[in-house]
C-alpha cells in the first residue's frame, strides 16, 4: 500500500507538486488534488478524497425506509430534491406503490426547478473560477427566486426533504403557481444576460475551447454521465432512455454537443436550463387535482430482493441500489453518484494541459464534493 509521502517521493527531479485543496477557492468544497507539475504543465492529477466522507451507505443500513431518504439530501445538496426522488422511487418500485398523478407532476416540477437552480449556481461559480466575479451575483438573483418558491412549499431552501414514499410530504402552497409563473417571466427577461456576460466573451471562449477534451469513448469508459458526457456527444439522459414518472409524456430535447471540450459542456448546461423551463411551462398550467400522496403503511417493509433506480440529477445519473432482506431497514445500499465517476475522468482530461485549464475542466465537470465522498 503506497502512502502519500512515498507517492511524492517517486516523482522525477524538477517536478513540482502542489496541493490544490482541501482548502482552495476553485474546488468548491474539501476536494484535495495532488497535482504534479512540470513548469505549468500538468503531469498528473491525483484526487485525495474522504474529507467529507460520512459513510452515508453505512448509516442508511440502520435507518428505516422512510428515514434513509433524507440522508441523501446531504449528498448532492444542490439537487437534493432529485436525490430524494430517486430514493422514494426505489421504495415505491419495490412495494409497487402507485403514485398519484398530482404527486408525479409536483415531483417533476420540483426536479426541474432544482435542476435550474443547480445549473445557475454552477454557472455563477464557474465564471468565478475563471476570474469573472459579476456573473455569480446575476446567477443568484434568479436562483434566489427558486429558493423562495422551495421555501414556501417545502419549508426549506436547499435540503428540501419533500419526497416521501408514495408521493410528496405536503400539498403545494397556494402561491406556488403564480410564483413559478413570475419566475418564468423573470428568467426569460434575464436569460440573454447570461450570453452577453459570459458566453460571448472572447476571453472566456479562449479559455474554454479545446480545453479539457474528453472523447465519447473515454466518457463512456470513465462512466461520465450527465451534461459532462453530453458535451462529448454521448446520449445518456436517463429521462429519455429510461423514462420515469411522467417524463415520457413531456416534450423536451436532450441537449447534445459533440466538441467534447469545456465549452461544449458549458453550452450543454446553459441550453439544458431552457429545456427545464420548457418542461415547467408544459406542466404548470395542468397540475391535476387529487391526492398528493398514496396511502402507505406506517412501517415499510421491502420484500426480499434487489432494487435499482436511476434518475437524472443536475450532474448526471444517480443510481440507488438497495439489497433488501425483507426487514424494515435496508441490508445494503449503494449510491452510484454521478460526481464520483465524473471525477475519475479529471486526470485524463487535465494531463498535458496547463494549470489554468484544470480549473476550466473542473468547473465544467460541476463537482459537488459531498456527492463524491458520500
Amino acid at each position: 500500500m503506497k502512502t502519500m509521502v512515498e507517492e511524492i517521493g517517486k516523482t522525477v527531479e524538477g517536478d513540482l507538486i502542489i496541493n490544490v485543496g482541501p482548502q482552495h477557492p476553485a474546488t468548491h468544497g474539501v476536494l484535495h488534488l495532488v497535482i504534479t507539475l512540470n513548469g505549468e504543465t500538468i503531469k498528473n492529477v491525483e484526487p485525495h478524497l474522504g474529507y467529507i466522507h460520512r459513510s452515508i451507505e453505512k448509516m442508511c443500513e440502520s435507518l428505516s425506509y422512510r428515514q434513509f431518504i433524507y440522508s441523501t439530501s446531504r449528498m448532492d445538496y444542490l439537487s437534493a430534491h432529485i436525490n430524494n426522488h430517486a430514493c422514494s422511487m426505489v421504495v415505491e418500485k419495490a412495494l409497487q406503490i402507485e403514485v398519484p398523478a398530482r404527486a408525479q407532476v409536483i415531483r417533476v416540477l420540483m426536479d426541474e426547478l432544482t435542476r435550474i437552480a443547480s445549473h445557475e449556481l454552477w454557472w455563477g461559480a464557474m465564471a468565478m473560477d475563471l476570474g469573472a466575479f459579476t456573473p455569480f451575483f446575476h446567477a443568484f438573483r434568479e436562483r434566489e427566486t427558486i429558493n423562495d418558491i422551495m421555501e414556501e412549499t417545502c419549508g426549506a431552501r436547499l435540503t428540501m426533504n419533500y419526497n416521501v414514499p408514495g408521493g410528496v410530504m405536503a400539498d403545494l402552497h397556494p402561491n406556488f403557481v403564480t410564483r413559478v409563473k413570475n419566475f418564468l417571466k423573470l428568467y426569460k427577461l434575464k436569460i440573454h444576460e447570461y450570453d452577453e456576460l459570459v458566453t460571448g466573451n472572447i476571453i472566456f471562449q479562449n479559455r474554454m475551447k479545446g480545453v479539457g477534451f474528453l472523447s465519447a469513448e473515454d466518457a463512456i469508459s470513465y462512466g461520465v454521465t450527465g451534461p459532462a458526457a453530453r458535451g462529448s456527444g454521448v446520449s445518456c439522459d436517463v429521462r429519455k432512455h429510461f423514462p420515469y414518472e411522467i417524463y415520457e409524456q413531456l416534450q423536451f430535447d436532450e441537449i447534445l454537443e459533440t466538441a467534447g471540450d469545456s465549452f461544449a459542456r458549458y453550452m450543454v448546461r446553459l441550453r439544458e436550463m431552457n429545456e427545464s423551463i420548457k418542461i415547467i411551462e408544459q406542466l404548470i398550467d395542468m397540475i391535476p387535482e387529487g391526492d398528493f400522496q398514496a396511502k402507505t403503511k406506517a412501517v415499510l417493509k421491502l420484500p426480499k430482493g434487489e432494487f435499482f433506480q436511476s434518475v437524472e440529477t443536475a450532474r448526471g445519473e444517480l443510481g440507488v441500489y438497495i439489497v433488501s432482506e425483507g426487514g424494515t431497514t435496508p441490508y445494503r445500499i449503494k449510491f452510484r453518484s454521478p460526481g464520483f465517476s465524473n471525477l475519475s475522468a479529471l486526470n485524463h482530461m487535465a494531463t498535458g494541459e496547463k494549470l489554468g485549464d484544470l480549473i476550466a475542466s473542473m468547473g465544467t465537470l460541476d463537482l459537488v464534493i459531498p456527492d463524491i465522498d458520500r
Binding site: 490544490v20 468565478m128 475563471l130 476570474g131 466575479f133 459579476t134 446575476h138 476571453i203 494549470l355 480549473i359
Partner: protein, 316 residues
C-alpha cells in the same frame, strides 16, 4: 487665478529666504516626500472605495454602506484593521527577502511619481528623459514581486511570481512601442515637453490613427502590467489562491495592495499625459475663444479628471 504653480513658487521663495539654500532644498525634499505619501494614502483609500462601489453597482448589490456616510470610511476601517493585524512571516521563508519585497514594490511605485506633471508647473522633477525613466523604474517592481514569490517558500507564490514576471516583461514591450509613437510625434522624452506639445490639441485627436492604435495598445498592455483582471494571472484567485502574496498578511499585504492601486494611478497618469495632454486643458487648434474659456478650469482638475477617467476605463 488659483494655480498650484504660484503656490510652489511662494513656498520655494519663502524657504530660500528663511533658511540657507542647502537646508531649504532638504526641507523641500521632506515636503515633497510627505506630500507624495499623503497622496498615496488618500489615493489608495479613494480608489478602493471607487472600485468597490462601481463593482457593487455592476453586480446588483449595495457595496460598503455601513462605515461613515454611505460607506465612505470603509477603506479607512479596512486600513486600520490591516494595521492591527499581525504581519506573519512563514517559518520556511527567507526572512530578509520576504520582508524587503513589499518595500521594493512600494518604493518603485513611488519613484515613478517624480516626472509626472500634476498641474501646470507642479512637477517633482522635470527630467529630460522622463518617459525612459518611467518605463525603467516601473520594471523594477517586477523584482519585488519575484522576490516575494521566491522568498515565501510557497509553490503558489512561486508560480504566481513567475507568471507575473513573464507577463510584465512581455507587456513592457508593447507599452514601450506604444509610447514610442508619441515620442516620435513630440520629438522629446521629457514629459513636460510632451504636455506642452499638445497646446493646440491632444495627441489622441491630433495624431489620428497612429495615436488611436497606440492608445488602445497602451490601455491593454498597462492593464496587463498592473495585473488587473482579465490579466490577473499572477494572482489568479481560483488557481493560485492569491499568487505571489499568498503568504503575506497585515501591513505587508497592505503595501502590495496599495502598490497595485498606485501603479494603476501612475499608468493612467502616464496615459493621460501622453495621449490626453496631461494637465493641458482641451484646446482646439486656433479657436482662441474656446481655448481661453477652457483655460479657466484649473490644470490640476484637468489632470485628475483625465486620470480618473482612464482608471475607470481600465477597471471596468
Amino acid at each position: 487665478m488659483f494655480s498650484l504653480e504660484s503656490l510652489t513658487t511662494i513656498v520655494h521663495i519663502w524657504l530660500n529666504k528663511t533658511f540657507q539654500p542647502n537646508l531649504a532644498l532638504l526641507l523641500e525634499f521632506v515636503i515633497v516626500g510627505v506630500l507624495a505619501i499623503t497622496l498615496f494614502a488618500v489615493l489608495g483609500l479613494v480608489l478602493v472605495l471607487m472600485e468597490r462601489k462601481v463593482a457593487a453597482w455592476i453586480q446588483i448589490r449595495l457595496g460598503p454602506n455601513r462605515v461613515g456616510p454611505k460607506g465612505m470610511l470603509q477603506s479607512l476601517a479596512d486600513t486600520v484593521k490591516l494595521m492591527m493585524k499581525e504581519g506573519l512571516t512563514p517559518d520556511g521563508a527567507d526572512k530578509f527577502l520576504f520582508n524587503l519585497a513589499p518595500y521594493i514594490v512600494m518604493i518603485s511605485a513611488m519613484m515613478v511619481l517624480a516626472p509626472i506633471g500634476f498641474a501646470k508647473g507642479f512637477q517633482i522633477w522635470d527630467i529630460n528623459i522622463g518617459v525612459l525613466y518611467v518605463s525603467a523604474i516601473s520594471s523594477v517592481s517586477v523584482i519585488g514581486i519575484l522576490m516575494a514569490g521566491w522568498s515565501s517558500n510557497n509553490k503558489y507564490s512561486l508560480l504566481g511570481a513567475m507568471r507575473s514576471g513573464a507577463q510584465m516583461v512581455s507587456y513592457e514591450l508593447s507599452v514601450g512601442l506604444s509610447i514610442l509613437s508619441i515620442i516620435v510625434l513630440t520629438g522629446s522624452l521629457s514629459l513636460n515637453d510632451i504636455v506642452l506639445s499638445q497646446q493646440n490639441g491632444w495627441w489622441i485627436f491630433k495624431a489620428h490613427i497612429p495615436a488611436l492604435i497606440s492608445f488602445v495598445i497602451f490601455i491593454i498592455a498597462v492593464t496587463a502590467e498592473t495585473n488587473r483582471a482579465p490579466f490577473d494571472l499572477s494572482e489568479a484567485e481560483s488557481e493560485l489562491t492569491a499568487g505571489f502574496h499568498t503568504e503575506y498578511s497585515g501591513m505587508k499585504f497592505a503595501l502590495f495592495f496599495l502598490a497595485e492601486y498606485i501603479n494603476i494611478f501612475i499608468v493612467c497618469a502616464i496615459g493621460a499625459t501622453l495621449f490626453f495632454g496631461g494637465w493641458m486643458p482641451l484646446h482646439i487648434g486656433s479657436w482662441e475663444g474656446f481655448n481661453h474659456i477652457m483655460d479657466y478650469i484649473p490644470s490640476s482638475i484637468w489632470f485628475f479628471g483625465k486620470t480618473f477617467f482612464l482608471i475607470f476605463l481600465i477597471k471596468v
